[in-house]
Amino acid sequence: MSVKGCTAKQVQIIADSGLEPRIIKRLNKVGIANYTVFDARGEGDSGWHSGQMDGDSEVLILLLLEEGQMDSLKDVCKHYLSRGHHLTVFVSNVEMISLSCM
């Protein structure tokens, strides 16, 4: 389901590319079906992802959520974070431009 309102939470999740299908499956289960993914590389406390090989790439998953979906999102993040996985997740507010919001 797309964002209905005229404002939304823009959530960005940076994760190892191996987590991508897993995270998306889990988001789906809590009702977050729409997403956009970008390939990325980078460095963090868990070392360097060169992006050159399959086990060494990362992705940014972008989600536009309604305020009410944030709890579900946090549950999914908690699932991974509490198991020691390296997710970098951050949120900001955006205004949507759509036919009904112009």
């Binding site: 191996g18 070392g47 360097w48 086990g55 198991r83 020691g84 996985h85």
Partner: protein
Amino acid sequence: MGIDALLIPAILFFILGVIAKFVDSDLKFPDGMSKGISIYLLMAIGLKGGAELGKADLGIAVQSIFWAIVLGFVLPIIGYWILRFRNKIDSMNAAAISAHYGSVSAGTFLTAIAFLEASKIEFETYPIIMMVMMESPAIIIGLVLAALARKRLQASGEMKTQQAPETEWGPLLKEAFTNGSVLVLLGAMFIGAVVPPENMATLYPFTKEIFMGVLCLFLLEMGIVGAQRLDAFKKGGGAYLIAFGIIMPIIGGTIGVVVAVSFLGFTAGGALLVAILSASASYIAVPPVMRYGVPEANPSYYLALSLGVTFPFNVVIGIPLFYNMAIYYQGLVA
């Protein structure tokens, strides 16, 4: 032989890649290129292995598979034991690293084949089957070692139970058997075995003739990638780890030579291949599984070791070393 080995184009291109990184060149392969070449190489070697399988002696094939599985289980345990010696490396990192050493590096294996072909040395092809068999056991052992360590840490209170990831055995075991490289290798091997030779022949210009050239391109990239990885050691005192990345392949290679010559009766060429399977560390199949299954371990360590230390060591030193070792050992036991 030592210098001769260095005159093999594939190895020279690898060294060129290492130099490129050390002079800080901007030489860079496009993102998907080495992933794509990897799939090609696995497909080509799988087809070759499958075609040979048709002509194989079933008895030796079964024995090869048996020994491949034994090596896949035993090598990571040896590795773990060395890494944990005097508590040098914490148990989670030790588990993850040793899984890589039980598995294999197709790139190193193919360089060894290039070495044998360039030197016109005969070799058995059973090691190709062994390569497929060695991917999964090491992954399983790595996960088991990590699970045991986790239990110990929880019992001793060093890790909070809440923190500790339960190993999701189902999905992880599945992944040990269905990861991309195992699948392409197994699938191509099956195709190589069942397709009648006449039909196969149309593929040879792609899978055989241009193979060595593509391998050179791949090793050029691996040289860059491997050398880059060494930066990871700059940050933390990696002396013990670097030593491990050289000692472990020597141990593995030696065991491989013994198994190949004494138990499988291979020639020196075939023994080199078994030695390289044992000595090499995975950098494609195992890292994603360890990232997910042992998130407590630091991926920098295992990638830096397998790509930055062991890969170059095997390509430049290990290959001629193990070949000479095999000849020497054959003389010894004959």
